[in-house]
Subunit: 304 residues, 2 copies
């Protein structure tokens, strides 16, 4: 098995200056799978209630996503409602109804335990540790988190981080976790907590990769209209981990290209509400935008 | 004549978490000249009082900077005092004593009027227009400004901008000038005000170049300690305009490389107080860091 993702599946109601979506597909695991499925074979582990419109994720099955780990339990699916102002930097949460997600305990089938790559989306670090304990020596474990866990379950989060190879975190959370304002100092401190590979997501300012040998920066794709930033981070991680999984080897060259594929997937995702854009996207469009990123950041060996 | 800069010359008292400097060399024209002098022949037009320690700018003369436009008038030199907190993003101004700078009217010698490249550092847009009216068809006019003029002399600033080829502005000021939060939309709006070439400086997030054909992003150099951000923008402009002037031609290829040289000069400048680092810097160090920028942003055609 190539890639396993464990995370949330939600119905999101989102309002932005460009419009709104009601009870649309959301959640870290769905965004991640949608993006990663363009690159590799993904298995998804998560939980929904019996009200979940399963037909709506048919597109994932069609892209080869293994949904055998999608648990359906009596009750309501996790719902989140939020809005964004014009600056699009931070979501204002209006309601978080965990519903069946509250009792979520990830269940891995034997084939899931043998995954080559594991992505722990943003869930309780205690659950993240559970999953890590179950998998049998994957090539790389990636994880995401959020300010809620950094502030509220710091010790548990540190235990997770210690076992993780690739950490995805946004710039504000990186400063919060490390307790220093300088981002490069924060990055060093976080890498000393465990993950040898750190990806710092900076929204409109792009993303940074830091390893033992590398500092690598990718700009954000120049979008004049960001319709809905929900899921940008998970789409990034999906493109990144999906590409790595397709190459099978974690090295600086693949990591750099993974950063670009992550940026490509995030840039498409924010072009419409929910995962509408990721649904219609084609491999050709992805490759075209990959090339555009070269134009955005290369200053030699590239004729302009 | 290759390059003319008109701007302020000051004695700065700056405090940062790393230390402080008292009445040290400062001002946009001095920072610009220090940086540009590594690339091209620079003439400086500005004013100081009779208390100015002229010996302290001997290093500029040694680098070939033409100081014949440095006017010395009775009275005290412009003084600025400010401090930075740990985040280093914005200076807190403690005192601004314009002194002789208040009556500054740029005087250009005949050879200055024939400059190939002109840089209007951050001064009153009315003075910037005066200078533009005096020069005879330069290859390119660059200009900088600040929130003070955007808010207080908007109409005059718009008149200046209309005549400018290359505008340097930071991200907050770009949003303020254009009145929109999205940076790419703001960039489009500003380019429609006149300058075909726009450089948006984003501090720790690097810088962006926008032309008719190009969106190009440069990351900031990864510095764990920024000792004093004063003059970073002017050093950037100095490296950028200096390099362009050395090539003599404004095209996308040269502009991309100019962005890197600008970033290189700004990154050195913030490594110490005042222009101490720019004083000791060598061409070899500049070229070495230029190459490091390639490593920071290239993901193909570059072995890591």
């Amino acid at each position: 098995m190539a890639m396993l993702v464990v995370g949330s599946i939600a119905l999101d109601s989102v309002k932005t200056p460009f419009g709104e979506a009601k009870e649309a597909l959301g959640g870290s695991a769905l965004y991640f799978s949608s993006a990663a499925s363009f690159f590799t074979q993904v298995s998804l582990v998560g939980v929904v209630g019996d009200d979940f419109p399963k037909d709506n994720i048919e597109f994932l099955a069609k892209r080869g996503v293994d949904l055998s780990g999608l648990e359906v339990v009596p009750g309501k699916t996790f719902r989140w409602a939020g809005s964004y102002e014009y600056d699009m930097n931070e979501a204002k949460t209006h309601a978080t109804d965990l519903n069946v997600f509250e009792g979520f305990r990830p269940k891995l089938k034997p084939e899931h335990e043998n995954t080559e790559f594991l992505f722990l989306a943003n869930i309780d670090p205690v659950l993240q540790q559970d999953v890590i304990a179950k998998v049998k020596g994957p090539k790389a474990i990636g994880c995401d988190t959020m300010n809620f866990w950094i502030g509220g379950k710091r010790d548990e989060l540190l235990k997770t981080i210690k076992k993780v190879d690739i950490m995805f975190i946004n710039d504000a959370e990186a400063r919060q976790l490390a307790g220093v304002p300088n981002l490069f100092k924060a990055a060093r401190a976080i890498r000393e907590m465990g993950p040898k590979i750190l990806v710092i997501k900076k929204g409109e300012h792009g993303a940074m990769l830091l390893t033992d040998n590398t500092v690598f920066s990718v700009p954000a794709y120049p979008l004049e209209d960001v319709f809905d930033p929900t899921g940008a981070g998970d789409s990034f991680a999906g493109g990144f981990m999906g590409y790595l999984s397709s190459k099978g080897e974690v090295n600086d060259c693949n990591l750099r290209r993974a950063m670009i594929y992550g940026s490509v997937m995030a840039s498409f995702n924010v072009e419409s509400f929910s995962m509408e854009r990721l649904k219609t996207l084609t491999k050709e469009e992805i490759e075209k935008r990959f090339k555009e990123f070269k134009k955005l950041s290369h200053f030699e060996g590239f004729e302009v």
